[in-house]
Amino acid sequence: MVKNKGITPLAFDEMMNADSSPRQPYSTYHEWYASQDRNRLIAKSKDAENIFRKTGITFAVYGHADSSEKLIPFDLIPRIISGREWRKLAQGIEQRVIALNAFLDDIYHKQEIIRAGRVPRELIEKNVAFLPQMIGFRPPGGVYTHIVGTDIVRTGEDQFYVLEDNARTPSGVSYMLENRETMMQMFPELFHQNRVRPVENYPYLLRQSLASLAPPGCSGKPRVAVLTPGIYNSAYYEHAFLADMMGVELVEGSDLRVIDGKVKMRTTRGYEAIDVLYRRVDDDFLDPLTFRPDSALGIPGIMDVYRAGNITIANAPGTGISDDKAIYSYMPEIVEFYTGRKPLLENVPTWRCSEPQSLKYVLEHLEELVVKEVHGSGGYGMLVGPTASKKERAVFAEKLKARPTNYIAQPTLSLSTVPILVNKGIAPRHVDLRPYVLVSDKVQIIPGGLTRVALKAGSLVVNSSQGGGTKDTWVLED
């Protein structure tokens, strides 16, 4: 187990070696950067912000008094990954995504992994993300997680860890696309000098991938639609963007009705059937007849249509059980159980506070650990031990003791850094990476992804809701 005493000031920097020479993937970029006028770059940085504001690439932060839209800061120094590094990552991600789907199919059918004693039964069956409605049902093509966003962190030259498997409705892909678009607009010369693998065909691949998993009840060309909770949702821009780029309808629950055993949308010509629904609405809200009865965002009866084989829902309901933080710590076993091989990508070592011994260890080492809520997201409800005050740790310890099953703990990894542009030049900041994966009869991993970057020096929190920014992510041909 890795033991870290606080944050090491000497994190692995992806651009610069300790001797101030650039690392190999950055060599061409670094040469270009050295020839640039700093004021021009700062001016370009402002241009980029204007491009984003004009385009309306914004998100809403819940609970902000000023409910208007915010921009996610964009940093114009790219995060560059070599072809060799990427291949290794991609193999590991593919293995993991295959395991996730096999796991989901198993726990909603025979539950062999439980019977083999590799995952505790109560962890599955008492989990709110486990949907009994999915038991015995196999989605079209046997695919549960059509779109996955695997969160990855790096701590060294060859050390990558999976932080989270986002298998429900991962967001952020619009930033991957817009960041690239913006970089190409501002610095076309960089794309002549570096052989950067393209990401811009993502919407086409997504549409193809979704259409290829049309339900058995679909005859003819499958009709795809994106379901959004609506204009006030924090990711609304992305929903509209993806629908637009794919050339499909963006629908809300109120546009849809179940008629004659099909889900249909109200169009200017009457009701028309939808075959594949890429939903960006949580399970709970999908069908008020099956899940939360107070949901106004869903479609009453859609689960019946689903089970009758007349619509594909992407991702399938109930996939949350596979990316739950409590399940996360079992991922190495899960990968090995279904693929027969050791995981190519490592998990971050994780203590399950539900286990008394682990809880004891966590309470004794709070100042070294990050403690997370099993069901939390967006960086809320977590304790970053090394940066928290003594009092904050004490308050959190009480919460932990009161509901230990609600928490997991991980060491504070010394996340790798990539420089960002600051007024005085460049300065290293911690980053993570979310590549996007499409699953149909094949697994396609888009070469690139969303790099999130903490903008405050030393900060490990990269979430946009907590002041993180983004970078364009390059995967180089080699």
Binding site: K54, I231, E249, D255, T267, T268
Partner: protein, 312 residues
């Protein structure tokens, strides 16, 4: 297309049209105040009436002053027809129907909103007014230009155009109705300079003071002004022109969908009447009655379109 999307497009373009119209009314009001030796606050009474917000104004203000009237028309969120309210509502609808718009049209709309929000963050000083009015017109023009230059001529285009012209017809009819007494020779002291200013303000409210001269000579005559704004099919804000456009856009939808609704009958009937009635007929029948009837029929058409194409 989703019924909700058609509804969003229709209202997006109604609001943008209305924003421009409110700006034009302010412009006409300012102009009147400048050109008359005895400008009175009462002039703003007519402007507020033309905008259809006279009563609403009284709910917010105790007295009528030009400063308050301008602010009310320009940026008061309590006034749903103020320039800022309309631009906000137009942009809100644009965001809702983002997938139906080209990037250019969306960006022009978004930039219009961002700039107007910045400019209208504070109460405007009278000296800033010409520039503000100019910016609104220019921004609206950019939206129109992006829309015409980049949008496919399909159902999306048709619903947008129908929204524009239903709103415009309503605006023109209202302006005429509020000022109808000025146009009645029996009531007005024909030829007095005051009346000329009033008449000109009508034309200015619809940006037609120059065009009028080209069509009818320079002399301002009540019957000619009414004819210009009601029956002249070449005048882009006249009722006849609006209905030509509404009927033709509904016609495209009919051919594409192979489906005819109540709205088609109403639009064609109204258009036929506009083509056949002479301005003398209308004046004889009573201009006020005619316009009142037109406005309610125009509203009904909006409702029929909403029903026929499943807006809600």
């Amino acid at each position: 297309m989703l019924g909700r999307t058609a509804n969003g497009l229709y209202w997006m373009f109604r609001y943008i049209e209305r924003a421009e119209n409110s700006a034009r009314l302010i412009d006409a009001g300012l102009r009147m105040a400048l050109t008359r030796s005895e400008a009175t606050e009462g002039d703003w009474d007519g402007v507020l009436q033309s905008a259809g917000v006279r009563e609403l104004y009284d709910e917010v203000h105790d007295t009528l002053t030009s400063i308050d009237a301008i602010d009310f028309l320009l940026r008061d969120r309590a006034n749903p027809s103020s320039v800022m309210s309309c631009i906000e509502a137009g942009r809100h609808n644009a965001r809702m129907v983002r997938t139906a718009l080209t990037r250019e049209t969306w960006e022009a709309t978004n930039e219009c909103y961002l700039e107007m929000k910045a400019i209208l963050a504070k109460k405007a000083r009278p000296t800033d007014m010409p520039e503000i009015i100019d910016t609104i017109k220019r921004r609206a023009g950019l939206i129109r230009g992006a829309f015409h230059g980049t949008m496919l001529r399909n159902e999306i285009f048709n619903f947008s155009r129908i929204g524009t012209f239903i709103e415009r017809a309503d605006n023109t009819a209202r302006i005429l109705d509020v000022k109808y007494y000025v146009l009645l020779p029996a009531v007005a002291a024909v030829g007095s300079s005051m009346d000329n200013v009033q008449w000109e303000s009508i034309l200015r409210s619809v940006s037609a003071h120059r065009a009028y001269g080209w069509v009818y000579d320079a002399e301002l005559k009540p019957a000619n002004i009414a004819d210009f704004l009601i029956s002249n099919g070449r005048m882009p804000r006249s009722l006849a022109y609006c209905y030509e456009k509404i009927a033709s856009n509904l016609g495209y939808l009919e051919r594409e969908y192979g489906e005819r609704h109540e709205a088609h009958e109403t639009a064609e009937r109204t258009l036929a009447a506009l083509r056949s009635l002479s301005i003398t007929d209308i004046m004889d029948q009573g201009l006020h009655e005619y316009l009142e009837d037109f406005i309610s029929q125009n509203n009904r058409l909006g409702q029929e379109i909403s029903d026929g194409y499943r807006f809600n």
